[in-house]
Amino acid sequence: MVDGKKLVVSASPHLRTKDTTQRIMLDVVIALIPALIAAVVLFGPRVLAVTATTVITAVLSEFAARKVMKRHNTIQDLSAVVTGLILAFNLPVSIPLWMAAIGSFFAIVVVKQMFGGIGQNFANPAIVARIVLLLSFGQAMGNWTAPLSWKTDAVSTATPLAIIGGESTEALPSLLDMFLGIRGGCIGETCSLALIVGGIYLMARKVISYKIPVAFIGTVAVIMLIAGKFDLEFLAYELMGGGLLLGAFFMATDYSTSPIKSNAKIVFGVGCGLLTCVIRLFASLPEGVSFAILIMNLLVPHIETIMAPKPFGTVKEKKTKEGEAK
């Protein structure tokens, strides 16, 4: 006979996947590491100081916020680490560390925890923090250090998209330099190679689906191809410039702030791409990615309602319903 008290009684199913939130977030961290290494090579050891600042601030803020709100501690799920990393990737290397810390605190406390923590926030914390920093400290946020100049005296430079936009007369970096990340820009956005490697890793591990990045980048490609009158070189600069790859692979795919179902994901990705192009082409801001993702974040609940999937076997009822309404 078996002593019934020792048996675990729980609701079905009795098998569970071995995946955990922590493992998923760890995968995201792993996927970001190539870009981090590239950034250290390109922009010097200060990259590590900025990254450490945002990551540590993010984790401490999460810990403190959960304590104050009397909720269970969540720092072990690593999502705060991811937010810290992504925020650092969206900052120029020369940013004063205290500004980076403020951004990180803001991302975690105001954008994430005040809306209920992981899975509940409607806007991407790192993006909102970046935009807040941009609006408050425009000067420091627009101070681009030339790549590979950190061993000598830091030289400032302009970003490729600003050069294309005619705001600077500097020479454009070559396409190979663009691919390797040897250009002005935020810490983690310049090395296309590293970002693509990270993105492929995430897709291979099934952490993200290909739908959002492909729809996003594809839309930008099509529009820029037409806008550039089929100039492939222009297209390549647009695709590798700004934060497009970082945004498409790592920020637009954030679970909390993107749709769940595949068709809604495609709509979301296309929307991000469209807005990015509109901002890049018509507004004075050359880097439209953050704003585009933010706007689409806010639209996610609407996209999901409109595109709600039909439960199995449901026949289309729309017509009868409209009929009733009349």
């Binding site: 006979m1 078996v2 002593d3 019934g4 020792k6 048996l7 675990v8 009684v9 729980s10 609701a11 079905s12 199913p13 009795h14 098998l15 569970r16 996947t17 995946d19 955990t20 939130t21 493992r23 998923i24 969540t74 799920d77 999502s79 923590g117 992981i118 899975g119 509940q120 679970y255 909390s256 769940i260 179902k261 999901e304 709600a308 999937p309 039909k310 439960p311 199995f312 076997g313 449901t314 026949v315």
Partner: protein, 358 residues
Amino acid sequence: MGDVKLPNGVMSKAVTIESDGEMRLWEGIEPPKVETKEDFIKAVRASGLVGLGGAGFPTHIKLNFPADKNIDTLIINAAECEPYITVDYRECMENSWDILSSVYTLKDILGFKRVVIAAEDNKPEAFKVLKNIADHKDDVDDEVQLMILESKYPQGAEKMMVQSATGRRVPPGKLPADVGCVVLNVTSAAFIARYLKTGKPLVSRSLTVDGSAIANPKNVRVPIGTNISDIIDFCGGFKTEPCKILTGGPMMGLAIVGTDLPVLKQNNAILAFSKDDAVLKPETDCIRCGRCAIACPMSLMPTNIVRAAKAKDPEALKQLGITVCMECGSCAFACPAGKPLVQHMRLAKAILREEGNK
């Protein structure tokens, strides 16, 4: 006569039968006379047959569909309903004659135009056996067909089966019969043939005994009502201390509180797990990863249903289609945050039911 506790915790009246150790058939048992459809249904009813795949739905009700329903397809479900369980596979291997005879009897008596035998692609031997049945010489117009399905939980679920076999989708709240299909588990089908031949009612069944805590996992045939602890002893007892014991499969089975319980007709497995397999990971916050929605065979969005249920919003629940949820557990299996989603689904259904009662 006395009270017996059933695995789901309910007390029930039961007769305790003392065995004389001989296991002879009673002389009065004889094959039923079956000439018409009515005779047949009566016979099935008298046999006490229920869906042996796990649902336990009385078979005579399933087969006694009104003529105006236009039922044209019989689906013989040989896809195992859950991981671990192999009784249907053994049935195919050992009792193929019964399956064959049952298929043709059912077809003739109930007038099905088409019979589809559905098997999973990971059971090549069973496939061969079933292929012989489908290609039998009596089947002149090739009305009996074999269909191979990808082996993927919950392939054995009726609605999934109907869709795979006929392309028809059973609407929410309806039964396979509403789209012209009847789904019958192979083991149940084989039993019908045996009953028609011998008249021996459903007094025993086969079940899988498995799991990391069982010393000698095997399939056994036991009289219904056998005490679960006797069955486990027969399989060598426990090799490690069991931490969780289930009747039924790992996805939809019931965790039981002890082993002093009887086997019921619809129990297709007894699984016992040691500590490593039984302890579920801790529940964390939903991260909206969407894996539950990808996993759901019914195209539901479990995470949104949880939200609507928390908000006690019956309108939203209806919109989200909670009623089609078959509690298969796929969503909860896939959830990295360890959410007990099936429990949430049951809760959501309860909210809707309450609303309906108002």
